[in-house]
């Protein structure tokens, strides 16, 4: 079974990492400091498939790496990693470049919106890493259990490397996603990240986070 590094100890990182351990993967959760209490508490009940360490340690550990850090710190964190820890690996990027500085609801960080995206900036910063953008358009619970929406929603993936997208799709299938749409290279992260505002508006209107997008199509 693949070894996976999960960068980030927040709700998304914990939910993804726990699901991966349940699926049988060996998972190392990474954070800024070695003695991160949330990572320690996460790993404790899960047995020897779960470990934790620095971002560098978790990235080095994984053959595949999930980026679950916050959008405003993710680039500086990724740039701090050694090339050996992340080059030639698959980086599944599920972050959202949200800007909370102008109040609620958040907008996107303007330098990553519309004519750019965080996904593209990560790929530019790590040219030897295979970046795949996906999963950022649903709540953490739905990421690892799309049946919670009561239907069969669509998950988008994009990235420059076909094999990396196929490996990502295999994990998405294990999470329960059946309808997965490859919408092109990493530039398509623009559209995927720009779904966040309508996701937030819908969440506030439904007062419910158990929903997801589906592309209804004639073929």
């Amino acid at each position: 079974m693949e070894k996976i590094g999960v960068l980030g100890t927040g709700m998304v990182g914990q939910t993804i990492a726990t699901k991966l351990v349940e699926l049988g993967y060996e998972v190392r959760m990474g954070s800024r400091l070695l003695n991160n209490e949330k990572a320690f508490e996460w790993a404790k009940p899960l047995g020897d498939k779960a470990s934790f360490g620095t971002f560098e340690s978790a990235a080095s550990f994984g053959n595949i790496i999930f980026n679950c850090t916050k959008g405003d710190v993710t680039l500086s964190m990724l740039k701090s990693l050694s090339a050996a820890s992340i080059a030639n690996k698959i980086l599944i990027d599920i972050t959202n470049p949200l800007d909370f500085s102008k109040g609620m609801p958040p907008s996107l960080i303007s330098e990553y919106a519309n004519t750019n995206s965080l996904g593209e900036e990560i790929q530019k910063a790590l040219p030897d890493t295979k970046v795949v953008k996906t999963l950022n358009i649903v709540s953490a619970d739905v990421m690892v259990d799309p049946d919670k929406t009561g239907g069969e929603p669509t998950m988008f993936v994009c990235g420059n490397d076909k094999d990396a997208k196929n490996e990502t799709i295999k994990i998405l299938n294990q999470f329960g996603w059946k309808d997965i749409l490859d919408i092109g290279d990493i530039k398509s992260a623009r559209g995927i990240e720009m779904l966040l505002p309508v996701w937030i508006e819908t969440m506030m209107s439904l007062d419910n986070r158990y929903f997801a997008f589906k592309i209804i199509r004639s073929r």
Copy 2:
């Protein structure tokens, strides 16, 4: 039956206007010049329910007005109308603020994206008009016949006036939309307009415009 003004003679304007005539509405199509050939050709086969004239004439004619002009000219056109032609009326805005100047695929016009939207700017420019944003997130054929997607997609509406949204929803129902989601005031036009990039990416990937978004939800 209500009288409706349709501003714009392009494919969207023609498709909307024809459907409204078929539904029994009296429709006047508006354009910049009185002797617009496309408007003339549109009206000719449709009998006395269909007429055409200037933007001012079409706006004055309608109790409800559809804005189907291009996103980069829509504000100057709307600002050129007399208050008498448009004040206290419902303006259903289905434009997209697309910027083709940076090549394909288009981005959004930056001044209307992320922290603003064309829908909001229209409402600011016409404070006495009840602006409702909807329908801009599907192709013209799907706007007036969502069954073309082979399923039951979701249409978003937003706007500041509840009655105006209800009147709009009645027309959407007549177009065939069954799942309609009110996601709040006109500020939510941000999220609706920001759906365009992923719509374009999906259209290019599927090589098919007969699709639409659905919000799959647990209740």
